[in-house]
């Protein structure tokens, strides 16, 4: 009887070898959330496109219609000069303001400590992406939308929340930090141009910065009862049981896209 199980598994994994990789299911989960948000924003009037690592758009009529997801060891953004064979991103432009953003998957951001932190899904201004594609490297600072994706089988504990909060705090650049971080900021910083801009302006406190961004822990499974402490204070939305067609998946995509609609310039 176990041979029938083996035959069925062989058939499934033979068609989707990505599921033989230890990280395969996790990558699929991240892609599902990332593309879900982008597709929802497209229905809400944003211009949305797929973009190769060399900065060119992927069009329906192109001979090269590969969307390359980030994989392997986490890195920063690779230079566009390396060609189109590295990780793709999703671009989005708010109509009619023309404000342009990119959705990244699995990019390492640099914190104030100098440590790098991988953010599973991040929404950043396109200027940051353009700068980094010229020189390569990690963005400095905190993305406006940060989503931690957890595809593990066990329900989430409070330690996941602690780890995410710590990561976001190292990435936050507050007004009080300006005396010891580069100012004016480097071009790959998350605050392009100036700290004085109203949307990108550095905040007085972490409390303010948490509310000037949208932060989510998204899980395929649920959360252990009581594990969702440190959410309203640190402004981290816990979203669990994210599967295809679930009301929770719809709520997650709605929450992220609505924040982008309401808050980004």
């Amino acid at each position: 009887v176990i041979n029938d199980v083996r035959a069925a598994l062989d058939s499934i994994l033979g068609n989707t070898a990505i599921l033989r990789s230890a990280n395969g299911a996790g990558r699929i989960f991240e892609l599902f959330v990332m593309t879900g948000i982008a597709a929802r924003l497209q229905t809400q009037g944003f211009d949305v496109w797929l973009q190769r690592s060399d900065g060119t758009q992927i069009s329906a009529g192109d001979s090269d219609r590969r969307f390359i997801q980030r994989g392997g060891a986490p890195t920063g953004v690779l230079p566009a000069s390396l060609g189109p064979d590295n990780a793709s991103v999703i671009g989005l432009s708010r109509l009619p303001t023309g404000s342009v953003w990119e959705i990244w998957n699995g990019i390492q951001f640099q914190g104030r400590s100098g440590a790098t932190h991988e953010i599973d899904i991040a929404v950043v201004p396109r200027q940051v992406g353009e700068e980094l594609r010229q020189i390569g490297g990690s963005p400095f600072g905190r993305p406006r939308v940060a989503i931690e994706c957890k595809d593990v089988g066990q329900p989430g504990t409070v330690d996941e929340m602690r780890a995410f909060v710590a990561r976001l705090y190292d990435l936050s650049v507050l007004q009080g930090h300006r005396s010891y971080v580069p100012y004016p900021p480097p071009p790959q910083a998350i605050f392009p141009g100036t700290f004085a801009d109203s949307f990108y302006a550095s905040q007085m406190t972490y409390w303010d910065e948490n509310r000037n961004s949208f932060n989510v822990v998204a899980r395929r499974t649920g959360f252990v009862a009581g594990a969702t402490t440190m959410t309203s204070y640190f402004n981290i939305e816990p979203h669990g049981n994210i599967t295809v067609g679930s009301t929770q998946a719809i709520a997650l995509v709605d929450a992220v896209s609505q924040w982008i609609v309401n808050c980004v310039p």
């Binding site: 009887v1 176990i2 029938d4 199980v5 083996r6 035959a7 069925a8 598994l9 062989d10 058939s11 499934i12 068609n15 989707t16 070898a17 990505i18 599921l19 033989r20 990789s21 230890a22 299911a25 699929i28 599902f32 593309t35 982008a38 597709a39 497209q42 496109w49 797929l50 069009s59 329906a60 009529g61 219609r65 590969r66 969307f67 390359i68 997801q69 994989g71 392997g72 060891a73 999703i90 089988g153 329900p155 649920g222 959360f223 009862a225 009581g226 402490t229 959410t231 309203s232 204070y233 402004n235 939305e237 979203h239 669990g240 049981n241 599967t243 295809v244 067609g245 929770q248 709520a251």
Partner: protein, 178 residues
């Protein structure tokens, strides 16, 4: 913590042999962890609302959702035949969830590319035939995923469900007859 049922070993070995050792580890981890009390979905929705309302208010303490229990209940062990049933259900659901997400992701990528093309007057037939290919670099190889392959894998899920169900039944029967 539960002791692993030796009757699970054929399933665990099979998962490892077909190249899904990560799934074998998840089965073992899930049985070791047992069933833990999870946050109810209604509570989770209330907590999401609390985060959003906290954003608008000027208080500086954690906003409690009253239904959240103050402490975590101990996990309930999965033992005996329940381990066999749990493992069979877990393997099927895990692969089913992953394949559904993969298919939905491919559909969403296709939709993102197709929408501007259709708006620009490109024929729907041409747009539909120009399929997106997903490439996922792994540690040692690059995986290429197309919609047709994913559909084939999804079609095999029913075969897997029946095979796991038969394995579960035969494993339990063998135990009862011994």
């Amino acid at each position: 913590m539960a002791i692993l049922e030796p009757r699970l070993l054929p399933l665990i070995e099979t998962l490892a042999e077909v190249g899904a050792d990560w799934l074998a580890f998840e089965v073992v981890d899930g049985i070791r962890a047992g069933k833990v009390a999870e946050e109810h979905l209604e509570n989770l929705a209330a907590i999401q609302d609390a985060v959003r309302s906290a954003k608008l208010e000027n208080f500086r303490t954690e906003k409690r959702v009253s239904a959240v229990p103050p402490s975590v209940s101990p996990a309930v062990s999965i033992i005996g035949d329940d381990q066999i049933r749990w493992a069979a259900e877990y393997v099927h659901k895990r692969l089913s969830d992953a394949l559904s997400m993969l298919q939905a992701s491919l559909d969403q990528l296709q939709s993102i590319v197709s929408t501007p093309a259709l708006r620009d007057g490109v024929s729907p037939d041409i747009v539909a035939s120009n399929e997106i290919t997903l490439i996922v670099p792994g540690d040692e190889e690059k995986f290429s995923v197309r919609k047709a392959d994913t559909a084939e894998a999804i079609a095999s899920l029913e075969k897997l469900r029946k095979a796991l169900s038969s394995w579960e039944a035969s494993t339990r029967e063998r135990s009862e007859s011994e």
